[in-house]
Point group: C2
Chain length 153, copies 2
Amino acid sequence: MKRSGLAALVALALGIAAGAALAQAKPEVLVKQRQAVMTLQGKYFGPLAAMAQGKAPYNADVVRRNAGFLDNLSRMPWDGFDPSTKDVGVKTAALPAIWEQPDKFKEAGSRLENEVHKLYEVSQSGDEGAVKTQIGAVGKACGGCHESFRQKQ
Amino acid sequence: MKRSGLAALVALALGIAAGAALAQAKPEVLVKQRQAVMTLQGKYFGPLAAMAQGKAPYNADVVRRNAGFLDNLSRMPWDGFDPSTKDVGVKTAALPAIWEQPDKFKEAGSRLENEVHKLYEVSQSGDEGAVKTQIGAVGKACGGCHESFRQKQ
């Protein structure tokens, strides 16, 4: 079996298992958890954005560390957008479009995961120009999802 | 694409004040970030604790995934316990002992990181007994720190 096919099967199995394990999580807990991921993505992406903008000195070690953290964080929010959280009654900027256009939302999420993983890979080389270009691609993936699925801030 | 174009895109995507990432994070932001880590450690350790306690069926794939996430998360909270957050005026269970006994706090944090990393390593083999034993060791590391440094819940 090819690696990609195996990976897909494992991902499928994981998704089902994780879904079952989370079946009892309360909607307000799911919202808190997904917001926690966004908070931490901001913590670790903010400094990289500043570097890409030339507003902070480039630091390859920080980029590598943060990209590794983000590579994990970018996979954490999605199961928090369970349909049970649609009318949860706690403060959230999540728009109904998330559940009205699930395929588009899933695609936007996958795009973030992919761009962040590319950043992680590029960060290993330490090539500053390539890293900064990829930081921009990650920023666009953040913005692409926020544009359609997050209430304007 | 030119660097300046990238910078504009990143800034747009993030929707944050340009200088925000440069300045020292505000104490209330640090508290929010470290609490976000605790929330996510709970999300990914909870199911493992349930497995070790026999309250959920053992699932090696979930253990591997969660242990990988936790291996990253366990390194994220510590810079959030900056002395500037000692009297921040927002709700927090952090006790003054954190800043009164910094060496002991640092040791407790390192112990968590080490036990979680061991769990990550053990989870790769999938040996159920060894994994469950190590889940217990992680739980003790959580509790060891909470016992001395977190307000009783």
